[in-house]
């Protein structure tokens, strides 16, 4: 008999529990209800200095229910999947709905927007990897980092993560959809140098299909290269220079755009981009499109967190913001229709030019490449941006030396409008896919 710890529940079992939640909610007087249940299994093996550091087994189960009594809403969740847990959660949600306000914007997403026959996006690729094999792979990854350069004197370890999950969503429109998915990863954190000159950096690969992961040894070597490249980093003087956001941090910049055009910020008037749909906020060559149905992509989803069918949709065309990023509540508050973005964006792709990272560095000529950003100094209400940064100083189109302990500051509106180029070095590890982004001048402050 197989170990029940290694099994996900059957889709039929989730369907039965979702139906129970919805029936129970109706029985308690709910006019509408929705339920999202999930079950996850995972293993993470971390190795440090050639030996096991941690070996963790994950087995999470969660249920969430939301009920509507007319315009009054209540939510409850539990870290369990059982009939008793479902009934308790429904009762708690109904109790809460007696005290929340009657808000006409509350409710399920429109019935006609529900996903019908969701396409199979090929998101579930179990990795049959035993704990011993995971440890061995992590060991290879770390060894490659240590062997890559004599200056790698220590590591914070290398790890392999294996994850499978089953997500089910249903609501009283009659929708029930279930989504099996997997994602696996390999990472390494290398430490170069020692004492006060010590520097740490990392690399990781993540994919739904283990066959799409970078090789463990390549991950280790990359981590080593990144850490060694930081040795000797120093601060800069204070001046205004162009800034090149390397792809992994450029994703964050696009993430700020998504947050600033998201319904929850807009209906609260808590965004500097309120009212900007239809306005030019980027140079006229900038294009961004959401592509939710890319097979095996990390950000793919056939339906959003409210069961609304997703579809390809432009966000920015010709530099003009085409729409907002809305769920059904914020859409009603704004007098608009949901954009199938409950839960976020799905594979938002930023169109890029022909220059790779080296091309962008040559094009920048003199300025700062940012490879790491620190802190939360982004104010979406005003657009003011001020964050800690590390990276490389560029002169005459080439990297001169590593940089740390500086800040970069400006206004997000100016940063967006001043984008000079998007690189072809696209980072596809997540729901936002962009290459490196070269911006106009920002204030770089140092010692």
């Amino acid at each position: 008999m197989s170990d029940p710890r290694n099994e996900l529940p059957a889709a039929e079992e989730l369907e039965r529990l979702v139906a129970l939640a919805l029936d129970d909610a109706r029985g308690r007087g709910a006019t509408a209800a929705e339920a999202a249940f999930s079950s996850d299994l995972g293993l993470s093996a971390n190795v440090r200095k050639g030996d096991i550091d941690t070996l963790e087994h994950h087995r999470g189960r969660d249920l969430g229910v939301t009920v509507y009594m007319g315009g009054c809403k209540g939510s409850a969740s539990a870290g369990a999947l059982s009939e008793a847990a479902v009934r308790d959660a429904v009762r708690a949600a109904c109790d809460i709905a007696r005290y929340t306000s009657d808000d006409p914007a509350n409710g399920l997403a429109p019935a006609e927007r529900m996903v019908q026959d969701p396409p199979d996006l090929d998101l579930d690729h179990p990795w049959q990897l035993s704990a011993d094999e995971a440890v061995e792979l992590a060991r290879e990854c770390e060894a490659a980092a240590v062997e890559a350069d004599a200056r790698i004197e220590n590591t914070e370890g290398a790890g392999v993560g294996v994850h499978r999950g089953l997500y089910a969503y249903g609501n009283t429109h009659g929708l029930f959809a279930v989504l099996p998915e997997s994602h696996h990863s390999i990472h390494c954190v290398a430490v170069a140098g020692h004492g006060e000159a010590m520097q740490r950096d990392y690399h990781y690969t993540v994919a739904r299909d283990p066959a799409a992961l970078e090789a463990a040894r390549a991950v280790g070597r990359q981590a080593a290269e990144h850490a060694v490249a930081r040795l000797g980093a120093a601060s800069l003087g204070t001046e205004r220079v162009p800034v090149l956001f390397q792809a992994p941090v450029a994703k964050g910049l696009i993430g700020h755009l998504v947050s600033a055009v998201s319904g929850s910020a807009l209906y609260r008037e808590a965004s500097f981009l309120a009212g900007s749909a239809g306005r030019q906020i980027f140079p006229d060559w900038v294009q961004m499109v959401e592509r939710p149905h890319i097979p095996r992509a990390l950000g793919s989803a056939a339906f959003d967190a409210e069961g609304v069918a997703t579809a390809d949709a432009a966000l920015v065309e010709g530099g003009v913001l085409q729409r907002y990023v809305l769920d059904s509540y914020s859409a009603r508050r704004l007098g608009l229709a949901t954009t199938a973005n409950a839960g976020g964006v799905h594979n938002l792709e930023v169109a890029h030019g022909s220059d790779d990272l080296d091309g962008l560095i040559r094009r920048m000529g003199r300025g700062l490449i940012v490879t790491e950003l620190m802190g939360q100094g982004v104010n979406l209400v005003t657009g003011d941006y001020s964050r800690g940064a590390a990276g490389f100083w560029v002169e005459d189109g080439a990297i001169v030396r590593p940089v740390q302990e500086v800040t970069i500051a400006g206004h997000l509106g100016d940063i967006f409008a001043g984008i000079q180029a998007v690189g072809s070095d696209v980072d596809r590890r997540g729901g936002i896919r962009t290459g490196s982004i070269l911006t106009a001048e920002m204030t770089v402050a140092g010692q």
Partner: protein, 489 residues
């Protein structure tokens, strides 16, 4: 700020926890012996089980609408086996013997060979009683919770007609834990935690600015109902937003900075706190590794981490390995005196446990974490500190921060700051990120105020994907030079 009187505890946490966590599954000592015999495979030095049942709720009032109410329950057990530097960990979300046995087998697979250790007989470990065990969620009825939020909103709107939007939220947690370990440790804690937060948007002509404030601790909602309490948080949020409506561009470059008392102690949390956690130092990856006994701050600086303060957000009667919390001096008169430890890292470093083992929940393994981290008061009047600055920044409120413990580089972001010229506070300036080097920044502290304050109880600390509530504090202090990330070069 002085220590509060310890709360009166009316119930025995061990009995409470046993009744809540073990009794429903009829788990007795014989069952636990079975689980530990699976955990204590040859080579395992130490094993523990962390039983937890937590109930949480959140209420949100948004511009007069009771927008959200949510409730969650979570129960489970984390099983851990430690073999030298190796940790095996697994958890289950049912508290029942078969699931526990499965988790124990999975966790102990980390050990391969070595000596076998027996399980010692369980004996109750006393903690201190730093807070009461009453359930915050049951301390007020739903109408009264909503009424509390309405009071906060009204108080914020009363401040000024430019306050356009108000969001008030109330969150409560009732958390019961029981920790059993292979050395016979048997400890429990019943942990209340509440927090009220107010965020506002102020608008004038074309400008909009936000402000937020709040507070709480390990007590029930009754404390928040006290006259004037939520009103004070609401007025503070409104005040910050209104100040920021007048803010000019922030300066850029290396400047003297005066930090206000209380929450700006987030400086200590980032600049030195994380770097003094035992795991980074055991692994030699902290900028503070191997530096005990060395000068890392000016003689004016004494920094402590104290998990044993009554009713504070970062406090715990026992840590998440069942060890009593205590006050640990991290830096004494500028000299590094100690790290924060959990059992594994203390053992490997030949150090004593310090009561700093913490975990987000049963589904996460423990590691060394901060509790309430603050700097003791110094000799200077706050006014003379400001008066000593020719041209610099006076920063009184901050968002969060972040640190790279290996390079020591840290940031923290001001959300309310003023320009100082000729020793006088001038106009407000926009929020800006400050960055520095952890092992260096406290050596540049040349004045420390006599006005120690702790924050109001809103801090959350993240490490390796785990969030835990923490506290910070400090007196007014001056750093003679730190990089300020404004736009005005």
């Amino acid at each position: 700020m002085s220590r509060d009187e310890a709360a009166t505890v009316t119930t025995d946490p061990i009995r409470d926890a046993e009744a809540q966590l073990l009794a429903p599954a009829a788990l007795d000592e014989a069952g636990l012996d079975q689980v530990f015999s699976r955990l204590l495979r040859p080579g395992v030095d130490f094993a523990d089980l962390y039983f937890q049942a937590a109930r949480r709720e959140v209420w949100v009032l948004e511009d007069g609408i009771v927008r959200e109410g949510s409730y969650s329950v979570d129960r489970g057990v984390g099983a851990r086996a430690v073999a030298g530097e190796r940790t095996g960990f697994a958890y289950c979300d049912e508290i029942e013997l078969p699931a526990l046995l499965g988790a124990a087998s999975a966790a102990s697979a980390v050990a391969r060979s070595g000596a076998s250790r027996g399980l010692e007989a369980f004996r109750g470990k006393p903690g201190h009683a730093l807070y009461g065990g009453d359930d915050p969620l049951a301390s007020l009825d739903a109408d009264s919770k909503v009424a509390l939020l309405r009071r906060a909103e009204a108080a914020a709107r009363d401040v000024d007609p430019r306050i356009e939007r108000v969001v008030a939220s109330l969150a409560g947690v009732h958390d019961t834990v029981l920790v059993a370990d292979s050395e016979g440790g048997w400890a429990a804690d019943v942990r209340p935690l509440v927090r009220l937060n107010v965020s506002v948007l102020a608008a004038a002509s074309e400008r909009r600015e936000s402000g937020s404030s709040g507070g709480g601790g390990r007590y029930t909602y009754e404390r928040l109902v006290a006259p004037g309490q939520v009103e004070a948080y609401a007025r503070e949020a409104a005040r910050q937003a209104l100040v920021n409506l007048e803010a000019e561009e922030a300066p850029a470059g290396n400047l003297p900075v005066v930090l206000g008392p209380g929450w700006p102690g987030v400086l200590l949390h980032e600049a030195v706190g994380h770097g003094l956690e035992g795991d980074f130092n055991r692994k030699g990856t902290s900028a503070f590794s191997g530096r005990i006994g060395e000068r890392v701050a000016s003689p004016l600086c004494t920094v402590v981490d104290d998990g044993a303060m009554a009713e504070r957000r970062g406090s715990l009667s026992i840590d998440d390995e069942g060890h009593p919390t205590q006050r640990n001096t991290l830096i004494e008169a500028g000299v590094l005196t100690g790290y924060m430890q959990d059992r594994q890292n203390a053992g490997l470093m030949g150090a004593a446990r310090t009561g700093n083992a913490r975990r987000e929940s049963y589904a996460h393994p423990p590691m060394p974490r901060m509790t309430n981290t603050y700097m003791l008061a110094g000799p200077h009047e706050p006014e003379e500190i400001v008066a000593s600055v020719d041209r610099g920044l006076y920063a009184v409120h901050f968002g969060g921060g972040q640190v790279d413990t290996t390079s020591g580089k840290f940031v923290f972001s001001a959300s309310e700051a003023y320009w100082i010229e000729n020793g006088r506070i001038q106009h407000p300036v926009k929020g800006a990120t400050l960055t520095g080097n952890g092992p260096d920044v406290l050596t540049r502290v040349d004045m420390v105020g006599n006005d120690l304050e702790l924050d109001t109880g809103v801090g959350v600390c993240g490490k390796e994907g785990q969030s835990v509530p923490v506290g910070v504090g400090q007196p007014t202090l001056k750093v003679d030079g730190i990089t300020v990330g404004g736009t005005q070069a």
